[in-house]
Symmetry: C2
Subunit: 168 residues, 2 copies
């Protein structure tokens, strides 16, 4: 979509634009997660990120399925939101000296990523249904459920383990 | 905090850094909301944004209260995440030609902002409790509850009105 060119005229255009935004975001997350796995020290946090890396690969494939179902090209549009969220995650990781504190910071940074995805997929599911694309909505809902579960798992891990070690 | 200078050594440092991050974010949102109010056309959406502007003013005051309670300077640190989320909101607003579609896009953009705040305040509440600052946690929880309610109100408005008009 051209910047400031008013290319979005219909709800369908907006739906496709937002699919391309989250497609870019998922691909950016695919590149960021291996670095987060390297930086994490608690085995449960490394595992959580590794599981989510595999899920993210599936999310990319599901988006390509939705593009195909909807007859739109699987293209990306730059998503300044995810760029900012991941830049912030990388910045904070570089500023933390203590490994236990770093784990708490990494979990929080990953939850900011999850929350961005949750809001975008939530919106896409609602728009797909409104556009009469219950088939696309069903595929997007699977990813939404996984993003919510990943966020919840990080909350539980942080509260049961990471934050306790970090504050000792 | 100096970039890449490993200034964060303890959980307390991380808590204060994240307070400063969301303090920056709230101030950036204070500047963005009046533009979103101008661009919105549905009266219910204008009202929702206007209500949230007043709430955001309270959130800034509450953060200053938490800084004071915790004995830390009320300073900001640049938050690339909120910069990216708001840049994206402004970019999409400029690309949508149709007013009804723009309302749906604005509501979704505002929900991305809410979700960032929800994840940060959720983390801050957990960290405050772990640091023995139940007093700070109670103040931060008030804001968290308002962010969740604002997000829920936008979901209901989008599904009951905005998305229907946009897809017609």
């Amino acid at each position: 979509m051209g910047l400031f060119s008013k290319d979005i005229e219909t709800m369908d255009d907006l739906f496709v634009h937002t699919l391309r935004d989250i497609y870019y975001a998922e691909k950016r997350i695919l590149k960021a997660l291996p670095k987060m796995i390297d930086k994490a020290s608690h085995p449960s946090l490394k595992n959580a990120f590794t599981t989510h890396l595999a899920e993210t690969e599936t999310h990319v494939i599901r988006l390509e399925e939705v593009f195909r179902m909807h007859g739109a090209d699987a293209k990306t549009v730059t998503c300044p939101a995810i760029d900012g969220i991941i830049d912030e995650a990388e910045e904070i990781s570089s500023e933390v000296a203590d490994q236990e504190v770093l784990d708490a910071a990494l979990a929080a940074a990953a939850q900011a990523v999850e929350h961005y995805e949750m809001t975008r997929y939530g919106t896409l599911v609602a728009w797909a249904k409104r556009l009469g694309r219950a088939d696309c909505a069903r595929v997007l809902e699977k990813t939404l459920a996984e993003e919510k579960a990943a966020d919840q798992a990080l909350t539980e891990l942080a509260e049961a383990k990471l934050n306790i070690r970090a504050a000792e």
